[in-house]
């Protein structure tokens, strides 16, 4: 099967901006760069689910943002559906649904529905279809009223709205940053099951998500990678994930605790 997402030798360093005192004292040598991602390569077939594991600061969110075209890598290439992100940025964005971990990213004085209507319009989806989609998807999350103002939602409800926004334009590739972090247990289970059964299996969507929950990796993923300090430390296949949960736990703990 052909790869839907392909990353080749991706590296990303963050260099801090010059401070005011550095400019005034004419000391232009910068502090050391942070190596967020180093020489990372992997691929994923269409309709598959990839889980990304790693301790805090491993580079998981940076990696998702790079695939989402929100960050440009310093080196390496990324292709999605055969299109390279540096050449086909605009078209690739219509293929992607991204849900960020941050609560920012919405208009807090508008309702959930008004927010979704706006962002769907930017995906060329009319308001009638947007409402229909939003209502369908909101059923995944109990007690979610889309007519309330965004600033009145709990953290879990904000995350639910973020997930609905990522899904509502029916993207081919879903990038989800810790999608169940703020959700209650039942909503989290229902959402992940929906991702597996409906999106990946029935509709052949490709999903990449980050998590700290090994059970989610074990239960829902076709493939998993473990990152540490921006480097790929382990690639796990479906057979390993399903059969040997304890082995996954041991591997993860070993990598996470190294050098600490």
């Amino acid at each position: 099967m052909e790869n839907f997402v392909e990353l080749n030798h991706i590296s990303k360093n963050f260099t801090p901006s010059l401070s005011f005192s550095q400019i005034v004292s004419l000391k232009f040598q910068n502090k050391l760069s942070t190596h967020a991602i180093t020489d990372l390569s992997f691929s994923l077939e269409k309709g598959k689910i990839l889980g990304i594991l790693g301790p805090n600061g491993a580079g998981k969110t940076t990696l998702l943002k790079i695939i989402a075209t929100l960050l440009f890598p310093d080196s390496g290439t990324i292709s999605i559906a055969g299109k390279y992100i540096e050449k086909d940025n605009l078209n690739i964005r219509s293929l992607i649904g991204f849900s960020s971990l941050q609560e920012r990213g919405f208009y807090w004085r508008l309702t959930g529905k008004q927010n979704l209507e706006f962002f769907m319009a930017l995906h060329n989806i009319d308001s009638k279809t947007a409402f229909k989609k939003a209502n369908e998807l909101s059923e995944l999350f109990r007690f979610l009223d889309l007519n309330k103002r965004f600033d009145s939602y709990s953290a879990g409800m904000k995350q639910a709205i973020s997930l609905i926004r990522a899904l509502a334009h029916d993207p081919e590739l879903l990038l989800l940053d810790e999608p169940t972090k703020s959700l209650d247990y039942l909503s989290a289970q229902r959402f992940m099951q929906f991702v597996l059964d409906e999106l990946a299996t029935k509709r052949n969507k490709t999903i990449i998500f980050t998590t700290h929950h090994l059970e989610e990796i074990s239960n829902f993923c076709d493939k998993a990678i473990i990152l540490k300090n921006g480097r790929l430390r382990e690639t796990l296949t479906k057979s390993t994930l399903k059969a040997e949960f304890n082995s996954l736990k041991e591997t993860y703990e070993k990598i996470a605790l190294e050098n600490q």
Binding site: L70, R104, A121
Partner: protein, 267 residues
């Protein structure tokens, strides 16, 4: 067009969730004009030699110039302000994630403020006509409309360049500072540029506002036709054709720079 309407609707919903800005805006315009009205009274409501070209007293002059400046300031200030707002809310990243061209994003972010500025401009005209009894009967409306359009295009270009600085530096916008600091003095907004010394008059020629104010005063009070304003209008066309594409290009570059630096969502 649908995307621009979506931006407009979104901004309307956000702005209308606040209660006082519109009423305060009208009050500010009225109080500002009232100050000029009394300054004019102090100097005897005369047409000074510097105002002979336009054939009006100081209050009439400043009514049009401040009204126009309020309008074109939107071009300079609305883009950096909107970009800063979207960065603060984290929505800039969410907007850029959608398959929307940079030009559409800029138009969408700016359009609400242009509508508000048009309403403000109309308020200046209504207050001038009905409260302060200024004679606007000689205005050549075709010339007024063309001056407005060309002015706004020139200043939009400057505003987009200014917004690019916000994307890169977040705070501390050198272009906005230069424009804000110099245009009030050399642009002919609070007094005709003929009162300035020669060297400042030369500097004033570098700013599009100088030509916009002069053309607008002549179109409103002398009824100048488009042909009679050809020099000022040609210069405004040159400013527009240079500044607008430069601004859009620069903004695209600033977004790419922020994507490289990883600072798109920071503020």
């Amino acid at each position: 067009m649908k995307k621009i309407i979506a931006f407009l609707k979104k901004t309307f919903l956000v702005e209308s969730s606040y209660q006082f800005p519109l009423a305060l805006n009208i009050a500010s315009i009225f109080l500002g004009l009232l100050s000029y009205f009394f300054i004019n009274k102090l100097f005897g409501q005369k047409i000074t030699t510097h105002l002979e070209l336009f054939g009006v007293d100081y209050f009439s002059y400043v009514l049009v110039s401040t009204g126009l400046f309020g309008y074109i300031s939107v071009g300079i200030n609305s883009f950096p302000q909107k970009i800063a707002d979207e960065q603060m809310e984290g929505t800039l990243e969410a907007i850029i994630l959608t398959p929307t061209k940079t030009k559409i994003i800029l138009a969408g972010l700016g359009i609400w403020n242009f509508i508000v500025a048009s309403v403000d401009f109309a308020i200046y005209a209504i207050l001038g006509l009905f409260v302060f009894r200024v004679n606007l009967g000689s205005a050549n409306l075709a010339s007024v409309a063309l001056v407005l359009i060309l002015s706004i295009l020139s200043f939009t270009g400057l505003g987009i360049i200014s917004a690019s600085f916000v994307v890169i530096f977040k705070r501390g916008n050198p272009l906005a500072w230069v424009i804000g600091a110099f245009e009030g003095i050399v642009g002919g907004i609070f007094f005709p540029i003929s009162v300035l010394p020669g060297w400042l008059q030369i500097i004033s020629m570098l700013f599009p506002v100088t030509y916009a104010v002069k053309a607008m005063e002549l179109a409103v009070y002398r009824g100048y036709t488009i042909y009679q304003l050809k020099t000022e209008l040609t210069i405004l066309v040159i400013f527009s054709t240079v500044l607008l594409p430069t601004g859009i290009k620069f903004f695209g570059w600033a977004i790419n720079y922020a994507k490289k630096q990883g600072t798109l969502a920071s503020y």
